[in-house]
């Protein structure tokens, strides 16, 4: 649900005042609009417990012809890769999930919410990998994965903390 606020804002910012935002190109607006529609479709499928269809809708976003890369496009792609990775994680497809996290991270290189979220998802995937390795009796490899998961999760916590501080200022502390 809250994802729509971000998309709506991106669309509004793009069409309301070109002096305030640099997103007025028709291609960018069309891309954002198509992305929003496909995310909605994925929501509907997820709510009906059709994970495969949800995944297909999300993968269509990645396959859309992409306009010139703007920060908004990178954010949308990073967010979509994170959502695909989460869905694949639920299905136990860990290799594919981690692949989407890496692709997503390529779109979110600065410490934004999108990077923090991708790292949190990566931590969850690494945790699942660690459990699988432990179940297979590979203790040392499992521990290596566990430590890697902890490192990603610590990084995610730090990024989210700074995102919240940045978005809301210093009010409300202590």
């Amino acid at each position: 649900m809250s994802r729509w606020f971000v998309f709506a804002w991106l669309l509004l910012a793009g069409c309301s005042n070109p002096q305030i935002s640099d997103v007025p190109s028709t291609e960018v607006m069309s891309f954002l609009s198509a992305t929003q529609a496909l995310h909605r479709q994925a929501d509907i499928h997820e709510n009906a417990n059709r994970q495969g269809d949800a995944l297909a809708a999300l993968e269509r976003i990645i396959a859309l012809p992409q306009p010139r890369a703007t920060p908004e496009i990178h954010e949308v792609l990073a967010d979509t890769h994170a959502r695909i990775a989460e869905t694949l994680l639920k299905q136990g497809k860990l290799d594919k999930a981690i692949d989407h996290v890496r692709k997503g991270l390529a779109h979110a290189q600065s410490p934004t919410f999108f990077r923090g979220h991708l790292l949190e998802v990566e931590g969850a995937i690494l945790e699942a990998e660690s459990k699988n390795l432990r179940a297979a009796g590979k203790e040392s490899e499992a521990d290596e994965k566990r430590k890697a998961a902890l490192a990603r999760l610590n990084e995610a916590v730090a990024i989210h903390e700074s995102v919240i501080r940045h978005q809301l200022g210093d009010a409300g502390t202590k």
Partner: protein, 160 residues
């Protein structure tokens, strides 16, 4: 608290947008008002050798006959003025929309960051084994508490 903050932000932005908007349209229409003023001034200047027409030539007096509105706005300049006001109002509304949307987006991103942070801390603590990792967990919990307070203060409850 949050609504009031948003409202203040919105009003400040709207004010700034309105002030900025007032500059441009004011510069364009003057071509009409300036030319009328110039015409009116020219009308006040008696042409050499011309017969001085009635009251309009009296220095400082209105160039318009008495009984008519003293405003120098002709139908054309009234139209221009109305257009300028409509333009300003539109910009004002857009500024208001944008600042409200910016506020919503800030809280939306903060809420999403908080949700993801909660998940990360939960996993971090679940996986902690030794003392150092437990310390990391405790530290992360403390930071999560602070972040939760911050988000709650500024945005109220997040819709998960």
């Amino acid at each position: 608290m949050n609504t009031r903050r948003l409202l203040i932000l919105a009003l400040l932005t709207a004010f700034a947008v309105a002030c900025g908007a007032g500059q441009q349209p004011a510069a364009a229409p003057p071509s009409a008002t300036q030319s009328e003023a110039h015409d009116a001034a020219a009308a006040r200047q008696p042409a050499p050798g011309a017969t001085t027409p009635t009251a309009t030539t009296t220095p400082g007096a209105s160039p318009f006959p008495s009984g008519l509105p003293t405003s120098p706005l002709t139908p054309t300049s009234r139209f221009v003025e109305r257009e300028r006001i409509v333009q300003e109002l539109t910009l004002l509304q857009k500024g208001l929309d944008l600042s409200l949307n910016a506020g919503v987006r800030q809280c939306d991103l903060a809420c999403r960051a908080l949700t993801s942070m909660e998940k990360a801390v939960e996993k971090l603590c679940r996986m902690a084994q030794d003392d150092a990792e437990q310390k990391q967990c405790d530290d992360a919990r403390g930071r999560l508490r602070d972040a939760t307070t911050r988000v709650k203060t500024e945005c109220g409850e997040c819709a998960h």
